[in-house]
Subunit: 350 residues, 2 copies
Amino acid sequence: MNLKIAVLPGDGIGPEVTLQAKKALYAIGVVYDHEFVFEDAFIGAVAIDKTGNPLPEQTLNLCLNTDAVLFGAIGDPKYDNNPSAKVRPEQGLLKLRKELGLFANIRPIKPYKSLLDSSPLKRHVIEGADFTIFRELTGGVYFGEKKLNDAGTIASDFSEYSEEEITRITHLAFKAAQNRRKKVTMVDKANVLETSRLWRKVVKKVSENYPDVLLDFLFVDNAAMQIILNPKQFDVILTENLFGDILSDEASAITGSIGLLASASFGNKNALFEPIHGSYPEAKGKNSANPIASILSAAMLLEHFGLHKEAKKVYEAVEKAIEYNVVTTDLKADSKFGTNEVGDFISNVI
Amino acid sequence: MNLKIAVLPGDGIGPEVTLQAKKALYAIGVVYDHEFVFEDAFIGAVAIDKTGNPLPEQTLNLCLNTDAVLFGAIGDPKYDNNPSAKVRPEQGLLKLRKELGLFANIRPIKPYKSLLDSSPLKRHVIEGADFTIFRELTGGVYFGEKKLNDAGTIASDFSEYSEEEITRITHLAFKAAQNRRKKVTMVDKANVLETSRLWRKVVKKVSENYPDVLLDFLFVDNAAMQIILNPKQFDVILTENLFGDILSDEASAITGSIGLLASASFGNKNALFEPIHGSYPEAKGKNSANPIASILSAAMLLEHFGLHKEAKKVYEAVEKAIEYNVVTTDLKADSKFGTNEVGDFISNVI
Ligand SMILES: CC(C)[C@H](C(=O)O)[C@@H](O)C(=O)O
Ligand SMILES: CC(C)[C@H](C(=O)O)[C@@H](O)C(=O)O
């Protein structure tokens, strides 16, 4: 297979970890005789530094005209504490999600057997947990109008959802549940939010097409608690943009490290693959960041193109790294391996 | 001391648990020679059933003219899945918070020594954790305009914060930190939300008045993860309404059961005390709900009126109940004690 892949390393540890994902894909290409052509482009703080624009025209065009996007991370503390910054790195990612129409972000959560004891949660709580979060990615408060009055004393955010936006991701979530344990848990705050009430109504309607799938509802506060108390109860979690952001980071603790979690984002035409972790600026350039989330994102990319045995090969190589303790310090405090060594091990095993 | 206390048992398990808090306060009154006069009133689903209004005029007037409000719980599933319900139980609570100006909701999180093993989190992760969440309670998306278009296909929520709203709770949080470990962690989503950026700006400005207190910032997704990975890092968490709702329920898992967590809400004149758990309708009338959160809310009420030794007495009685395993099944699966027995034990010990 020939694939043209746009690579957007972004900020912080993004470049280091994405490099390892490229190495893994390259190895797969050699072994299975595929041609993956990578083209790198800027996004985020580095793009602002270079062009003033967190998503340069050129980057966007590249992404629109490739088979898939491999994304690193975004964000830089110099913008976080500067409320008057006019452009922000994150705008690059949000605009990219919007322009590519990536409405569904899929985040699988499943602890590795050999890491069951690395989680802050007790083994019996997480052993057997296996769920996937379907996070709506192009709506809600992320994309509503933001305002600050002239005096700089009153700020507002606006969140909106339409039936159509809810319907399309709901179908994806129910289809996924049909191939899993046939349960969808809708997470919202319907006792307070109007958008949540619309979500409930639409999700119930869509669910009628999937009589084999059980649907239940949780308020987001309760869900945040249940993910810790009893993560095994979940199969597919379906939720809006902001709640999905919060709950998926939280759920990463189940696996022991956010450095293990990959995600895939789909639209009608495009697809993007990224670790769920952020740019982690403190670790930048230190060869200490965990590359596994990025490598697993590459595996999700392979699956997306039907390359299942290739994806499996990557999963197995990652498992081997974990099994042999070839991991970064987030997983083993006294590990002597860094980002590069873990990446090398995994691509060598492939 | 003479205190007039409005008691709003509300829905679900609210009445059962609030009754135990009243019993504890009554016992304190007898032992320490105080006169607590209780007056009950309706709120929530029961108030809708009786009057059509989730916060009847009479209830509001009572609350405005008493020294403190003891609140139970609110919510009924018959409204949750009915997107076209015109009035909702939760509106009663939200209106009450607004009318009493209860802008600060304070939720202490600290595991009991003898319950360290009841948490889904490992002992070494939670042992020594001790933090308090300051949740803004009368602003944000809870109180912004909600809209649904005529076709019922587009819904929206609006969130707004003013400098003044942020300033007043920030002062309370910093003052509390001065009497604790002198650290405030502001939780927001400043990389996306305009309101969060205003929060950061205002909190930084206010923090200049408290040079002895360390201020740091966390994005809410990261905070949701850090609360599980390393809860000991927190002293005072300061955050807006919705994030506070989510994070405090999540944090309850540290203590083993949400049935242990109390909260106090303060305005300029009024004060309200309530468990952080909800109405838990499945358990209603079963004598199985944990009354401790409600009893601890009563203890926070006593503290608010400077009755420190009385509050201490309640805390000790609760500790004794836990120590002797006189607890409900959320804490000990095979317990034979119910709501009433736990409440009786605690007021007898007092
Ligand atoms: C960087 C940030 C804008 C982003 C988000 O909130 O969506 C990140 O946290 C994520 O989850 O991908
Ligand atoms: C019942 C509900 C409206 C309420 C809230 O979200 O504030 C509850 O969850 C709480 O935390 O007090």
